[in-house]
């Protein structure tokens, strides 16, 4: 059923279509609409779930951990400072191998207070053991949540997944979203029935003191699970497409076959970048775009394959790893190095704190790359 809704509502409906039984959440701008909508859906009986209005994001994730550990499918949503407050329990959920799904509205970090788009929040939680998806549009948000449960709950994966959407550009912008019929969704995503759960009939103690004799192996198992997840994400994206007509993968290439300059983007910037590619091509520039949809696990193989013929790789980061460079930029370079590809790369930091990355900005970025020294980081649009 096609309907018009903002990205926050798309996340709420994504959780509902996924038949979540438990939600614990705490409000933070611009995630509030997700909480409000879910609260309404539960109160109206449209979503048969328990909604715990916790007193913090830390407790939101902790409560999800408790419920998920008891074998119940859970969902939560947050943003920015809220995600940072969760940090400790994000790690906990991942190492406990709980396939929790979280929608994070990408918002800048204070001070100064900023409620606008910026991926610093989720990028700083990169190493928590969560899979990370960056949505390009509201349909992507909705579909990604349903797929996230299917991937995360796979017995060989069992890792939590975070679906990221840009503040306001998606969270508060209305677009057409095609909602999936509940019965069809249930066929795609069967009921959650984990092998390991808190069960008085099969009592186990979870997460006890783990000595150096054993701890290492559990981390190795997460490495294995992330490797499996790479395949599962592609596989589930294809299966989803075969059923619902919309195909997804870890990355998405746009006009890169003959491109000399390939932009590497994520989130809503990817959408703008594609439009920019079309415009720049009209000017005779051979430009393409590689969207990184999934950042964890990192799609090294797909990236190498997509960039191997490029002359110039221009990575746009809406984040900055203080003291180094954009997080995507570092990792893209790492992937190229793995494949012995010595391509000129450019790290472009843009759009921080919600500053607009328009087609004009992307054009500026391409021109900057064409005229600047490679293998360096540039801040785009800084007032000088």
């Amino acid at each position: 059923m096609k309907t018009v809704m903002n990205g926050d509502f798309a996340a709420s409906y994504g959780a509902m279509t996924s038949d979540v039984k438990f939600v614990a959440a705490y409000p933070i701008t611009p995630q509030t609409l997700i909480v409000e909508k879910l609260s309404e859906l539960v109160a109206d009986g449209e979503l048969d779930a328990s909604f715990v209005k916790v007193e913090s994001e830390h407790s939101a994730m902790a409560a999800c951990i408790g419920a998920q550990a008891a074998g119940i499918r859970t969902f939560t949503a947050t943003s920015s400072q809220g995600l940072l407050l969760m940090c400790e329990v994000l790690h906990w959920a991942a190492r406990a191998r709980l396939p929790i799904v979280l929608a994070n509205v990408n918002r800048a970090i204070a001070p100064g207070w900023s409620i606008w788009a910026d991926a610093q929040d989720s990028i700083s939680q990169r190493d928590t053991g969560w899979m990370q998806v960056y949505a390009e549009n509201n349909q992507d948000v909705y579909d990604s949540i349903l797929m996230a449960y299917k991937i995360a709950e796979d017995n060989d994966v069992l890792l939590p997944m975070m679906v990221n959407l840009d503040a306001f550009f998606l969270s508060h912008t209305s677009e057409v979203v095609d909602l999936i019929d509940n019965d069809k969704a249930k066929e795609f995503l069967p009921a959650y029935d984990p092998e390991y759960k808190l069960d008085p009939n099969n009592p186990r103690a979870f997460g006890a003191l783990t000595s150096p004799e054993h701890y290492f192996e559990f981390t190795y198992k997460m490495f294995e699970a992330m490797e499996v997840a790479k395949k599962k994400i592609t596989q589930v994206g294809k299966e989803f497409g075969d059923i619902f007509g919309r195909y997804y993968d870890m990355t998405e290439s746009y006009k890169i076959d003959d491109a000399e300059t390939v932009l590497v983007t994520f989130g809503t910037i990817a959408g703008t970048a594609k439009e920019s590619v079309d415009r720049l091509r009209k000017e005779g520039k051979k430009v393409g775009n590689l969207k990184i949809r999934v950042f964890r696990p990192f799609p090294t193989e797909q990236i190498i394959d997509a960039l191997k013929n490029a002359k110039r790789v221009v990575v746009i980061d809406r984040d900055y790893s203080y003291g180094n460079e954009g997080a995507f930029y570092t990792e893209i370079k790492g992937a190229l190095y793995d494949a012995n590809l010595r391509i000129d790369t450019y790290g472009m930091i843009a759009g921080l704190g919600g500053r607009d990355v328009s087609t004009a900005v992307i054009k500026e970025i391409v021109e900057k790359a064409e005229t600047s020294e490679p293998n360096k980081t540039y801040f785009i649009g800084v007032k000088r």
């Binding site: 039984k21 438990f22 614990a24 048969d48 779930a49 328990s50 715990v52 209005k53 916790v54 007193e55 913090s56 830390h58 407790s59 902790a62 409560a63 999800c64 951990i65 408790g66 419920a67 998920q68 550990a69 008891a70 074998g71 119940i72 859970t74 400790e88 329990v89 906990w92 808190l198 069960d199 008085p200 009592p203 186990r204 103690a205 979870f206 997460g207 006890a208 003191l209 783990t210 000595s211 054993h214």
Partner: protein, 299 residues
């Protein structure tokens, strides 16, 4: 000789807690769990944050209790229990008891926010704090449950703890929860009765268990029960219940014992000058009077 007769048992015979666990000799916290589980049985899920019990139950891949136990982050005992409890209810399970089991640091200090949240929502959980009056698992650092006058590694002898133990019980009563009880491991019958009562009540139940720690208190492990008894006989830790706002003191010592003996049995109070002991005595007596008045007015 009386070998034909059965041993006299005043508490349930069955054991959930099995020996082999890692509690120190004479540990009050292990007795607390033993009694609580005797009352609550095996249809239960317990979550345990960082505290002594994170170690006592045993390292991976073992457990001494063999009930569903979830080890969790320090400040999350109440929130995880809320999640389990509400999650189970969402799938139609309203029979399994859900209990958070935390130390005083995880309750009085770092966990108080989540505890307050759960209590305000009146989530259907039993929250137990086994109180050994300091961060024992990390090596005896002071918490806000450490009593005035006590030595800990962060309140060394020359700078012993000054200031009163946080009155968490009153804070919890102020939340309007349906049931609060204090218990001492020297009174297992009373304690088990309280757990059985808590199990039948819907909403947030808070049980504050006094659990001596020979390691942290520098006391003789053999004296654990004695200390847990004396703390009640001296009115330092009165046994009472608050059910729907109504106070009931369970034990009113006929002749309140003086503090001296209780303090003398613990190395953590060895340094205390006489005037501090008198000050403690005076203050505990005043606190007892206040409790009596609460019972009188809200009984």
């Amino acid at each position: 000789m009386n070998e034909k007769k059965e041993l006299r048992l005043s508490i349930p015979k069955e054991e959930v807690l099995q020996p082999g666990h890692l509690a120190c000799q004479g540990c009050g916290a292990s007795l607390a769990m033993r009694y609580a589980l005797k009352a609550l049985g095996r249809d239960i899920i317990v979550d345990i944050p960082a505290c002594c019990w994170a170690v006592i139950d045993g390292p991976f891949p073992y457990s001494a209790t063999n009930i569903p136990i979830y080890h969790t982050a320090f400040e999350t005992a109440a929130a995880v229990a809320s999640g389990v409890s509400n999650g189970l209810k969402a799938i139609g399970n309203d029979h399994t008891t859900v209990m958070a089991w935390a130390g005083d640091g995880g309750t009085f200090d770092i966990g108080i926010q989540a505890l307050s949240g759960a209590a305000e929502r009146n989530d259907d959980i039993i929250y137990t704090v086994y109180d050994n009056e300091a961060y024992m698992n990390t090596g005896i650092q002071r918490s806000s449950a450490t009593p005035h006058g006590a030595w800990t590694t962060t309140t060394p002898v020359k700078h012993y703890r000054k200031g009163w133990k946080k009155d968490l019980d009153s804070i919890m009563v102020a939340h309007g929860i349906p049931y609060l009880a204090t218990a001492s491991i020297a009174y297992p019958e009373d304690m088990i009765k309280k757990y059985l009562k808590a199990q039948k009540i819907k909403g947030t139940k808070f049980i504050h268990v006094y659990a001596p720690c020979p390691t942290g208190w520098k006391s003789d492990p053999a004296m654990t029960i004695h200390l847990a008894k004396m703390v009640v006989e001296t009115n330092i830790f009165p046994l009472y219940e608050v059910e729907n706002g109504k106070y009931k003191i369970n034990i009113k010592p006929k002749n309140r014992k003086p503090l001296d003996e209780y303090l003398a049995m613990q190395g953590r109070f060895k340094h205390l000058p006489q005037e501090e002991i008198e000050y403690l005595q005076k203050t505990f007596d005043e606190k007892w009077e206040i409790l009596l008045k609460k019972e009188e007015h809200f009984g």
